[in-house]
Structures are given as structure tokens and as C-alpha cells.
């Protein structure tokens, strides 16, 4: 009766050209992730000080708060410098590791010339489990953070 509802949304795809060599583009995206990721796009309770992608398969992807706390975002699934990195992102308001909305961020770096790189990003939302979402929504610290951010973003138009 209560079989979970599985929904597979279409992936989000982005492509951008960067005037930098491929190795540089890869390095900035990964090992210097914290230098460019918008600090407003953190969802943990504490203000974000830094965000880190550990440079190896199986590495952590996490956020460091100004108070010293750390919040896991996900893991490094594929580490192939300088051409590809795949990250798992457990999207929930606290970035705690659970399967509420499992997603994968697949980023490819394609050299167009010595100084130009095309970066193709695919964010795949894997199956979404309605039952797990309900538990998240119902939890005291559930989706409020993500939804607040979402509402903020939506209200900007």
C-alpha cells in the first residue's frame, strides 16, 4: 500500500567556456572549490568559511563553518584530473548524508585550445523517494533551510 513513490527528474545541464588551460580549470574547480563557490549558497546552520573537495576518489566534499563545524555535502565518486570529476551530493537542508534526494554532479573539462576549456556539468537527480522526503519534511530541522533558500531564490524571479 505504502510503496515509496520514485520520481526521476530530468538532469540539469550546463556548459561554460573558461579562458584558462584545462589543467587550471580543473584545479580551480576542485582543489580551489572554496575560492569561488558562492558563500551565500551554503545551507548549514553556521556561516560558511570554506568548502572542500578532497582530491581523490572516495574523498569527502564538505563545508567548513566559521565556527569550525564541518558539514558533509557528499563524496568524490570519480577523480580523473584534468578531465573529469563526479561528485555525489546528498541534497538536504543540513547536507547530512542520507538518501532524501541523492544526486550526482558530473563535470567534464574539454580542452578547446591551449588557453580555453569547455566545462560541461550535468547534475543528475537520481530517484527521489517520496517516503524519505516526507520524513525529511517532518523532521524538526528538515527541509526548512533548503526551502528558505529556494524561496529566496524564487522570489528574486
Amino acid at each position: 500500500m505504502n510503496a515509496p513513490v520514485k520520481i526521476t527528474p530530468a538532469p540539469v545541464r550546463k556548459s561554460i567556456r573558461v579562458n584558462a588551460p584545462r589543467a587550471r580549470a580543473f584545479e580551480v574547480f576542485t582543489t580551489r572549490f572554496g575560492t569561488w563557490w558562492p558563500k551565500t549558497h551554503h545551507i548549514a546552520a553556521a556561516e560558511m568559511k570554506d568548502a572542500v573537495i578532497e582530491p581523490r576518489a572516495g574523498g569527502r566534499w564538505y563545508e567548513k563553518g566559521v565556527d569550525g563545524s564541518e558539514c558533509d555535502w557528499g563524496k568524490v565518486l570519480v577523480w580523473e584530473p584534468p578531465s573529469r570529476v563526479v561528485l555525489s551530493w546528498h541534497l538536504n537542508s543540513q547536507f547530512k548524508v542520507d538518501d532524501a534526494v541523492d544526486s550526482e554532479v558530473d563535470v567534464r573539462f574539454i580542452a578547446e585550445s591551449a588557453d580555453s576549456t569547455r566545462v560541461e556539468l550535468e547534475h543528475r537527480l537520481t530517484a527521489v523517494d517520496g517516503e524519505a522526503i516526507r520524513a525529511q519534511v517532518d523532521a524538526p530541522n528538515g527541509w526548512s533551510g533548503l526551502l528558505a533558500l529556494y524561496a529566496q531564490s524564487a522570489s528574486r524571479g
Binding site: 505504502n2 510503496a3 513513490v5 520514485k6 520520481i7 526521476t8 527528474p9 530530468a10 540539469v12 550546463k14 561554460i16 567556456r17 573558461v18 579562458n19 584558462a20 588551460p21 587550471r24 580549470a25 580551480v28 574547480f29 580551489r32 575560492t35 569561488w36 563557490w37 558562492p38 549558497h41 534526494v101 588557453d115 566545462v119 556539468l121 547534475h123 537527480l125 527521489v128 517520496g130 517516503e131 522526503i133 516526507r134 525529511q136 519534511v137 517532518d138 527541509w143 526551502l147 533558500l149 529556494y150 524561496a151 531564490s153 524564487a154
Partner: protein
């Protein structure tokens, strides 16, 4: 409210049962109402919420309204991520190009 939020829409147990009825394929309102102990007007109302949340879509066949799971489901979450990556990648590009031109020159 312009945005029906998919996650909140699915928080309602009756709406989840309505969604479950659509897993096996598109169905008219009446058929969904026959399969679960919920009145037809209530089913219509739940479908309306699910539709606004981007989880189901509606097709009219003559006088009948057929509902099915929207393969682009979770539209609002996707839209949010779409904008998130636009701003994040713009920031990434700026940083990658900045670091190339400032310092690091051998």
C-alpha cells in the same frame, strides 16, 4: 503562491497515494478516485496541487482529464538548481580566469 513546492506537495499521505496510482500509467480522475477511498473532488484537488508542484501533468481528451507523472518532475527543485549552477559557474569562470592572469605566471 506561484510555486507549489514538490517536496511539500509530497508530504501529504493522500497525495502520495494519488501519485502511486499514476505509476502504472496515465489515468483519468474518476479511475484514481475508484481505486482509493477518497472522493472525486478531493482527488481533483490533490491532482491540482501535484500539478502546480510540477509532479504531474494533465492532458485533456475530449471531456476527460487524464493525469500522468511529469517526467520533468520536481520542476521547482530543478529550477532552483538551474539558477544555482548559473551563478556558481559564473563565479568559477571568473576565478579560473583571474588566477590565470594574476600571478602564477612562470
Amino acid at each position: 503562491m506561484a510555486y507549489g513546492i514538490a517536496l511539500v506537495a509530497l508530504a501529504d499521505p493522500t497525495r502520495r497515494r494519488v501519485m502511486e496510482q499514476l505509476r502504472s500509467g496515465p489515468k483519468p480522475v474518476g479511475e484514481i478516485a475508484r481505486r482509493i477511498p477518497v472522493s472525486r473532488p478531493a482527488v481533483s484537488q490533490h491532482l491540482k496541487v501535484l500539478k502546480e508542484a510540477g509532479l504531474v501533468r494533465e492532458e485533456r481528451r475530449g471531456t476527460r482529464h487524464i493525469y500522468e507523472i511529469d517526467p520533468e518532475g520536481l520542476g521547482p527543485l530543478r529550477a532552483w538548481l538551474d539558477r544555482l549552477w548559473d551563478s556558481a559557474l559564473a563565479a568559477f569562470k571568473a576565478e579560473a580566469e583571474k588566477s590565470e592572469s594574476e600571478g602564477e605566471k612562470q
